[in-house]
């Protein structure tokens, strides 16, 4: 389809094809995830070492 039309207008001959990535602009700053110190993340993890072993797990040993 070398001569597509929109609004009754011919765009003319196709010259080239390509791809352009829209970079985030200054108008739309990226929203960064709030940084959480690693120590806080680790302390938030459940303590699996000292937790009692479930009965099902013990029985299967």
């Amino acid at each position: 389809m070398p001569y597509p039309t929109e609004a009754g207008m011919k765009l003319g001959k196709m010259l080239s094809v390509g791809e352009v990535v829209e970079h985030p602009s200054a108008e739309e700053p990226l929203v960064a995830e709030p940084a959480t110190p690693i120590a806080e993340r680790v302390s938030a993890l459940p303590d699996t070492e000292s937790a009692p072993v479930p009965a099902v797990a013990q029985a299967s040993r």
Partner: protein, 163 residues
């Protein structure tokens, strides 16, 4: 090789920034007045798009848009003068003129682009009248006011302007 047509590859390009263009569209405001969008003027007249939108095949195809084998996709012209010339057509007297940036896959033609992703950066309604006057002609009075309010508040997208 008799009967074979010579194959001419279309040149490829990879711009580093979105491409600028101009087009016509019909301004629209949702029934509850919280959203605004634009309706296409010919092929895409059944679809309403917002400030940032991805093209879909207007023919109902499931292929990527635009496709070389289909006429779907967003369209724009390279120059403001070409867009203004279109606006003189009586069929488009209720359309506004948009300035856009095009990104994603695109096809470059002599006078314009066909492309996959669009961001409206400017709505021009003041070609002969002041914006308010022309918007009142284009839409119902409360919608005209709402559209201006949505643009000015930045709710339709940061950086969008109405002149």
């Amino acid at each position: 090789m008799a009967g074979w047509l010579p194959v001419r590859r279309t040149p490829k390009e990879q711009p580093t920034a979105p491409l600028r263009g101009f087009k016509l569209a019909h301004p629209m405001v949702s029934a509850d007045g919280t959203r605004a969008g634009f309706g296409g003027v010919t092929l895409g007249r059944a679809n309403v798009y917002e400030v940032v939108a991805d093209a879909e095949c207007a023919q109902g195809g499931r292929h990527q848009s635009p496709s070389r084998w289909c006429d779907c996709g967003f369209y724009c012209v390279h120059t403001l003068d070409d867009a203004r010339a279109l606006a003189c057509d009586p069929d488009y007297r209720y359309a506004v003129l948009l300035e856009i940036t095009a990104s994603g896959r695109f096809m470059r033609y002599e006078r314009g682009l066909r492309y996959a992703k669009q961001r409206v950066t400017l709505v021009r309604v003041a070609q002969r009248l002041k914006p308010t006057g022309l918007l009142l002609l284009l839409t119902r009075a409360e919608h005209a006011a709402r559209l201006q309010s949505l643009v000015r508040s930045g709710e339709l997208g940061a950086g969008l302007r109405l002149v």
